[in-house]
Subunit: 195 residues, 2 copies
DNA sequence: CGTTTGATGTTACCAACGTCAACATTGTTG
DNA sequence: CAACAATGTTGACGTTGGTAACATCAAACG
């Protein structure tokens, strides 16, 4: 007994989008396919999102929130600061591997006019803040310290770079053992250099 | 006096594609628009590329060749090894900033079935080889050395990570001075840690 | 309790795109 | 010169993002 009004189409669409994103990649993620899967007319999504990009933005924003939450909880489960810092890097990579399509959406060029969505920027930045907070504790400096941001950026770059190479399948494996290279090891060396 | 046959449509298409990619971004890069700009029918490109993806692959492949060439020449102009290694990082970032859309095409999800184009993989890998060769000279180890590849991967990750953050406009600027963070500085520190 | 109104969903439609099949034109080669 | 392969054109199909006009419902208000 389908009622004319869906009830919470917006959330349903986002959930289905996540599903299709994970299953079939971003190419197959069309508003029409989404509407079809949810059992609603082709143009119904436009009552909840001004255009496709807005839907993707919402998806990415929630992705950043999830990422931040994952970084936070995994860092908090660590016995000490150094372990937490390493763990943040591993959690980041794990997120990218577990939700590859979403990760690429979050950082890739599928989103346009990001500047028009300040909430997206805030969500993204909050992930960096998570890392920055840990490094601040490690360095024991005020938040305005000049090198704090610099070190944060470099740590983030190292993590993001490794993530990129892993996702690109860029032979980031030990040619001898075939194992994926140890980001944890690199991060520990990075930490050992901090004052 | 337009002759029926274009002559070298393939090259013209690629050149025009580069142009439109730089000017209007990848969204506006359609086969039809390309054909229109070149003054040829909509389906003419299919005589030279089996599908759009193949055109993009060719574009990306030439992009990797250019990138490699740039890394090489700029490194060779350096007085010593350390300077060359830093320069490679800067050249990489410069390429990404100068040809942003192309760079995103090369590494982004616009390309599909990369595995079906071994030439693309070779081109991409040759860029890494450029970096690896320098690091090998620096370390003075045989090419099969276990840590050589590890260090190369980490250097590449650092460079790629910085590039990502720059392209994302990720506040990778000194909050005090407003200047972009110094990748060169990070690379010099990286180098100072090598044995 | 009936009406009005705003939110939500539907139908019909448009332009653009990637792609294919069938056909036209050309340069080359036997 | 004739046959052929390469190249370019025409026309069409199905899909997509998006708009406009209309339909339906629920809640606010008299």
């Amino acid at each position: 007994m389908a009622s004319y009004h869906h009830g919470n189409l917006r959330e349903t669409l986002l959930a289905q989008a996540r599903k299709q994103l994970a299953e079939d990649g971003i190419d197959k993620l069309s508003l029409r396919a989404l509407a079809r899967a949810v059992g609603v007319s082709q143009t119904a999504p436009y009552r909840h999102f001004p255009d496709k990009n807005a839907l993707l933005i919402a998806l990415a924003t929630s992705g950043f929130a999830e990422l931040r939450q994952s970084l936070k909880t995994r860092a908090e489960a660590c016995p000490d600061l150094d372990a937490a810092l390493v763990e943040v890097g591993l959690a980041y990579v794990d997120f990218a591997k577990a939700h590859t399509a979403l990760y690429k959406l979050m950082f890739g060029p599928a989103l346009t006019q990001k500047d028009s969505y300040p909430q997206l920027h805030v969500s993204a930045e909050s992930c960096l803040e998570e890392l920055k907070a840990l490094i601040q504790l490690k360095l024991n400096v005020p938040e305005s310290d000049e090198t704090l941001w610099y070190i944060t950026i470099n740590a983030a770059a190292l993590i993001k770079g490794h993530t990129s190479m892993i996702l690109e399948g860029n032979d980031n494996c030990n040619p001898a053992t075939g194992e994926e290279f140890d980001l944890a090891r690199a991060l520990r060396i990075f930490l050992s250099m901090l004052p």
